[in-house]
Symmetry: C2
């Protein structure tokens, strides 16, 4: 029997009517001949309520108890979903993490999946069960304690089940109807993509298109699980949504697939640092220890770049989220006071945003950067920092130009047109 | 190390402040040198919310899914209680039913306890844990599904742990400060009892003094667990509340310990039935199948009681809750239509109440019934039905006289005075 994994997020199971709506989508797939594993999140708002109680009770909480409390939200949804399916005459039952069992590491609140034994669920499918409803986001540690996978972990649960059970596809039902070339709130010409490569999705997700959790995309890429993102609030069929798949499956790819942005960035520059081996580690070690998520890093060309001889100086620029600036500044000042680094000044610009173009086609096509920079220049937008990877070019610009830049780049790469 | 079981009901853990208040009571016992097993209910209102969701989803629900959903309330409280204790620097952890494991039958929503293996919890006590917080009301079936013990099941969980771990005492914290000689809302002279025998408590509980679940008292009696009922909202010490214990421990018992009542009773009389062997089974079989909880049964003296010869007739009177009258009437009419029984008339009086006096001293003292009937006669209260057991005398009377009867009996037996 072919098997599908269907995952419903918190808003998709936010109340009993929505759970029923989701169950009808499951029923359709059962009628098409699939066995189905349904992964559910907690009803929207429930996890936040539980987290709030834990944090009020114990600011420095025991993560094992946090997990025991917070995982209960998914258990409730799993039972209600199984009951709803039974009302539709579909043989279904719920599974909590320990019942499968979903085996994880002991890293509570951020556990990693270790194994998902198939025996228990396979036996029930063999006995005639059509749908296994599994509580997402949770598992059980080697010590027999309940673990959680961290925020967005239900996506990861879904992909892992799809891999373990050899599912034909893993459908992620959410409150958007797919992945767009850019944010439709910024560019009215944004177009829904039918397909996108895993690598592109990873770049888009980490850049702010928060539809799929990054870990789940990585896992899907590793195990070649076909992911599909689609809306739980619309009528959907086999062609709905966006398929995230191996790039081999994408025939006629455009050079650029999408334009992503991140609004609340800050640019920090350490002025006049020593230009010597180990200086980067001396800077970014303390930042990492302080929990600063450094994104782009640019080292200016040294004043005398032909030689790293003693006395050479340079500047170092990096970006991080705006709300981490204070922490980053403290880490740098402490490092200077401790004699680990030296600098003349720490220049901070908190009024910047990041705009990126992403596409696997970039690998084989020259001229993407030139097109990007020309489009920004035509709008008189000054580029402050540039960073590139194999399938992405990012720039930091003044925040006030962010929307304009996204629109200009979307137009320049003609993303409103299908490939 | 001596061990205590402490159980906190839903109102005692109704919010974070109340959980903290309960934790302080646990802390006091730990400071006195006890290891403690804490049994918790769901926060008040939570179980009803979950039950409501299940019933709205599926009127004829799968009890296995009901249990999986409804048990989550206790899991949340258990985690929050463990966190609160940790904040008080007490080594504590939570245990869900399957983690202990609390082994039960597969009778979902009304499961019976089978075994509570001590190994896992004992090992943690040996490692220095001072408090095991256990989710009440739940267990796990031989099939590995979550079960619940039915309403009030947390009391039963508490007593079973006290028996399994040889606890010095099982303290049931609730919203009253003990067991009273009668309802203080009805008689201002009601007095809190320091001690009460298991048998008396069973009669009082089933008669409407709904402080302890009947099953938990039965279990405590069988395993000789000393129960104590006390308030979680008052300062309490070792002498607070009411101890429910073996009658051997009660030295100077009064003849009557308490006056109980049940307001919403109905009296039904089948007029002119055959007086033959098997007639009672023919009547009460169909009533039982219809789910009618018959309480008192009185068969009138047969018109010709010297012989059960063919043609002899009699009347049969029984009582049941008012809201089951329609069901009882239908069962009787169906049985008559099917030729199982015959009767001339079914007389129904829905305006009655039951008042009972209870006391283990009755066994060895004559004259209790006479005192009771005289006290009621003095108030001109007519007795409609009388039923007696070894330690209880119950009467049905007009409902409008119920409060008056309770006060008169409380006074007649001088229950306001300590033994």
């Amino acid at each position: 029997m072919p098997l599908l994994v269907m995952k419903f997020g918190g808003t998709s199971v936010g109340d009993l009517a929505r759970i029923r709506n989701a169950a009808l989508k499951v029923q359709r797939e059962v009628e098409r001949g699939y066995d189905v594993i349904v992964i559910v999140s907690a009803m929207s708002g429930k996890t936040n309520e539980l987290v709030g109680w834990v944090e009020q009770t114990s600011p420095l909480f025991d993560a094992r108890e946090y997990d025991a409390v917070v995982s209960s939200g998914e258990n409730v949804t799993a039972g209600l979903m199984a009951l709803t399916l039974q009302e539709l005459d579909i043989p279904a039952r719920s599974w909590q993490g320990w019942q499968v069992p979903i085996l994880t590491t002991s890293a509570h609140s951020a556990a990693r999946l270790v194994d998902i034994p198939r025996e228990a669920i396979d036996r029930k499918f063999a006995e005639g069960m059509k749908v296994a409803v599994v509580a997402g986001f949770q598992g059980v540690s080697p010590e027999g304690r309940i673990t959680t996978l961290g925020r967005g972990g239900s996506d990861t649960t879904a992909v892992a089940f799809a891999a373990a059970f050899g599912a034909e596809r893993c459908d992620i039902y959410t409150d958007v109807d797919g992945i767009y070339t850019t944010d439709p709130r910024i560019s009215s010409r944004a177009r829904k993509l039918d397909r996108i490569a895993f690598e592109e999705m990873l770049e888009l997700a980490s850049l702010g298109a928060k539809v799929l959790q990054t870990r789940s995309v990585e896992l899907a890429m590793r195990y070649k699980v076909r992911l599909r993102v689609l809306s739980s609030f619309e009528d959907t069929d086999e062609t709905s949504g966006t398929v995230v798949c191996d790039e081999d499956e994408i025939m006629e790819s455009k050079v650029v697939s999408g334009v992503a942005y991140s609004r609340d960035e800050a640019k920090m520059t350490l002025v006049t640092i020593e230009d010597r081996p180990g200086i980067a580690a001396a800077i970014f070690g303390p930042l990492s220890e302080a929990g600063v998520n450094v994104d782009m890093i640019v080292q200016n060309i040294s004043e005398r770049d032909y030689d790293n001889h003693p006395g050479a100086v340079t500047d170092m620029t990096f970006s991080c989220p705006v709300n981490q600036v204070a922490r980053a500044r403290a880490a740098m000042e402490d490092a200077r006071a401790a004699g680990i680094i030296s600098y003349d000044d720490l220049a901070v610009d908190t009024e910047v945003a990041k705009v990126s173009v992403v596409g696997i086609g970039m690998r084989s096509h020259a001229g993407v950067a030139a097109t990007m920079f020309r489009a920004l220049a035509a709008e008189n937008i000054n580029i402050k920092v540039i960073a590139t990877s194999e399938i992405k070019i990012s720039v930091l610009i003044d925040r006030k130009y962010m929307e304009l830049a996204v629109q200009a780049l979307h137009d320049a790469f003609e993303l409103e047109k299908a490939a």
